[in-house]
């Protein structure tokens, strides 16, 4: 369990960083980048190739980030004067080109054989107990800052709500969420039992499961539309309950991560990587939050909305778009280094266009133009991945290959529903909607 949680935290952190890069480019600047994975692949290949030559890891990562930035510069210079949809086409083309170069230039990338046995961060590090405690304190510090930020956000949302109504609505919301969770568990457990005992033919089980799911959704949507609104400040109560559950879930996961650091020598490579990845997420998130709240970030948001007005007010739109593309590229390049270290082998097929669309899912889910939303989006994406990978297998009457397609189909369905119900994403602001302008 601990090993899996560590791996899950690493993947969540990598895709949070990757998504933050895309969020800067698209969420804040409005640049449609369908080839974000190109920056990641350049970051990954450059980092591992440099480190294999004996270059220290920190410098290798910086090298990878610089190469990714240089590609951002090249794409930007040639395409940023075009309309956004042309940029989308060019970026997807470039990302495929980079992947095909990685496949064919075997002298450099070892082609489809991939690169293995490259140095990993902190893999040979065996810290003494006091250093491990120090690492835990640092890790907990980052986590604590995250929770503090979270609390401030939540407080702002519930500040206006009278205490009494908040308590009442939270109890109702808890009953709503709790009963829903129990019902989902019940449906899942029944289906699992039926599948294990072969009590129903696959088609019957599938139909039953489908009907139960639709009935559950219909019931809970109906409750949310008719019963919940009768309670004063119900949305504040629901916000509090959902945030509380997520916060507790986060602490439960953090417990495994902290234990892993304490038992560092059990799996130094993964624990070290988790430590580095979480620190990087914290650092990049902080740096981006500073930026997007500054005059620099304001210019990006203005460009997202109306380039002509921004030009008319004396801002060099081309230069700022270029900076956004390059900085987003640097961040994706760093994510690429982490990705390579996590996979421990680098193949061109690791960088399929699907990876870009995973980042898009994360950003859209969390809310474009919200860095915190991107972190949440990544956590939800990987939680979904884990839950469906291990749970659906036991419930849904499908073979493994079809189950994979089914999971992606469900993601698509969730995104469609989200776009209809909350197009700004979970934490995005409706007034600042990037989609559907």
């Amino acid at each position: 369990m601990q090993g899996y949680v560590v791996s899950l935290v690493i993947f969540t952190a990598i895709f949070a960083v990757f998504g933050l890069g895309l969020n800067l480019q698209w969420g804040f600047t409005g640049l449609i980048n369908f080839g974000h994975v190109a920056f990641m692949s350049l970051g990954a290949y450059t980092t591992v190739l440099l480190s294999l030559q004996g270059v220290p890891l920190v410098i290798s990562v910086l090298g990878g980030a610089m190469v990714a930035a240089a590609m951002g510069l090249l794409i930007g210079i040639s395409t940023l004067r075009l309309r956004t949809d042309y940029l989308a086409i060019v970026t997807i083309g470039v990302s495929e080109m980079i992947r095909l170069i990685a496949v064919n230039e075997a002298w450099l990338t070892r082609g489809t054989f991939g690169i293995q046995r490259f140095p990993l961060p902190l893999a040979t590090f065996n810290p003494a107990i006091p250093i491990r405690v120090g690492m835990i304190v640092l890790f907990a510090g980052v986590l604590g800052l995250g929770y503090w930020q979270w609390w401030r956000w939540l407080k702002q949302h519930i500040r206006q709500v009278p205490r009494k109504s908040l308590v009442k609505s939270s109890i109702v919301a808890f009953a709503y969420v709790g009963s829903g969770a129990l019902l989902v568990y019940g449906i899942g457990a029944t289906a699992r039992h039926l599948k294990q005992t072969n009590a129903l033919p696959p088609l019957g089980l599938g139909f039953g499961l489908f009907t139960a799911t639709i009935a559950f959704i219909a019931l809970y949507v109906w409750l949310a539309r008719t019963v919940l609104p009768k309670v004063a400040e119900w949305s504040a109560g629901l916000t509090v309950v959902c945030n509380l559950i997520l916060a507790l879930l986060g602490l439960w996961i953090a417990r495994f991560a902290i234990t892993a650091i304490y038992q560092y020598d059990r799996n130094p490579a993964k624990t070290g990587l988790m430590f580095v990845a979480v620190l990087l997420v914290g650092l990049i998130y902080w740096a981006l939050e500073k930026l997007v709240r500054s005059p620099w970030g304001r210019i990006l948001k203005a460009i997202r909305e109306d380039e002509d007005v921004t030009k008319a007010l004396g801002k060099n739109v081309f230069w700022y778009k270029l900076q956004s593309l390059m900085l987003g590229g640097v961040i994706a390049g760093i994510a690429g280094a982490l990705y390579a270290w996590q996979l421990t082998t680098v193949f061109p097929d690791n960088f399929q266009p699907l990876v870009t669309f995973n980042a898009w899912t994360i950003v859209v889910l969390g809310g474009a133009g919200s860095n915190a939303g991107t972190l949440l989006g990544s956590a939800i994406f990987w939680a979904y991945d884990t839950i469906t990978r291990f749970v659906l297998r036991d419930i849904v009457p499908l073979e493994d290959s079809r189950l994979g397609a089914f999971r992606i189909m469900v993601i698509g369905l969730i995104l469609i529903v989200l776009m209809m119900w909350r197009p700004q994403g979970i934490l995005g602001k409706k007034e600042e909607l990037t989609l559907g302008r």
Binding site: L291, S294, W296, A302, V309, A312, L313, E432
Partner: protein, 277 residues
């Protein structure tokens, strides 16, 4: 080099006599000569010249399709002219990018008010402030004190302007929540935030209720008394007559006439262009 350009500008000013019958003592802030722009086979602007004296409120009128907005686009280089020259404050600017022209002190507004509706009114204003330390991302991280200090100063200045146009109570609202007239006011106020020398206003009274039109006119006159120069496209002749010192008339992409508002009102060519034969 600069001197050469200044001499060139003076030369252009001298050539401007046929249309710009201005006394030589009034310095021209903006001089455009022989500007041409074609879209396919259509000549939208055909050898148009215009002068805007320093400290004036100059009007630009003409029937629909006369090429007035295209001329604005050419002056601010949102559209590159096929031919001709634009001299602003003694310097040629037709080779500059639109943002560089704004940085030089010539700001434009748009025919349909274009506020950034997903930013707050205050953010719209702050965006227009020039040369802020925090416009460089490196400074945001490594010179946070200076960035915050400047931001505070700019906020105060923006609040002053918003107060003067009666929008200060809306400062934290999204600009998308403003009415059409308020958007016009915000657009003009935002242009002032650049601390310009010349403001090009494209139909400031269009779609605005009469009370607000009066307010806008009063503000323009006040800012003009404070030393700001305006070039205004406007269809509302009452506004043109009450504001402008001098009016240029365009028709079918060409200069038609120039003179004081009273002269223009009595000019038979202008009446013909507006009303037909």
């Amino acid at each position: 080099m600069v001197d050469e350009q200044r001499t060139e500008a003076k030369g252009l000013k001298a050539e401007a006599e046929p249309f710009g019958e201005q006394p030589a003592s009034i310095p021209q802030l903006l001089v455009a000569r022989e500007l041409c722009k074609s879209f396919g086979g259509i000549r939208a602007v055909d050898r148009v010249s215009i002068d805007v004296p320093q400290g004036s409120i100059t009007g630009l009128i003409g029937p629909n399709g006369a090429g007035k907005t295209t001329l604005f686009n050419l002056l601010s280089n949102f559209i590159q002219p096929d031919r001709g020259e634009v001299i602003f404050n003694g310097q040629p600017i037709h080779h500059l990018q639109p943002h560089q022209i704004a940085q030089q002190g010539m700001v434009r507004t748009f025919q349909v008010a274009r506020v950034l509706s997903r930013l707050s009114v205050m953010e719209n204003m702050l965006l227009a402030a020039q040369n802020q330390t925090g416009e460089n991302f490196w400074n945001v991280w490594f010179r946070p004190g200076q960035t915050i200090k400047e931001e505070r100063q700019q906020r105060e200045y923006a609040s002053e302007i918003l107060e003067s146009v009666g929008l200060v109570h809306m400062a934290q609202s999204y600009a998308g929540a403003l009415s059409g007239g308020q958007r016009k006011l915000l657009e003009i106020a935002r242009a002032l935030m650049v601390r310009p020398k010349l403001v090009l206003l494209d139909e400031p009274a269009a779609g605005v209720n009469p009370t607000l039109i009066n307010q806008i006119c009063e503000h323009i006159l006040q800012w003009n008394r404070d030393g700001l120069t305006f070039l205004i496209i406007e269809h509302n002749m009452d506004v043109v007559m009450s504001l402008c010192d001098r009016v240029w008339v365009m028709a079918e992409g060409q200069n038609l006439a120039v003179g004081t508002p009273t002269e223009i009102q009595q000019n038979p060519q202008v009446l013909e262009a507006y009303l037909g034969q």
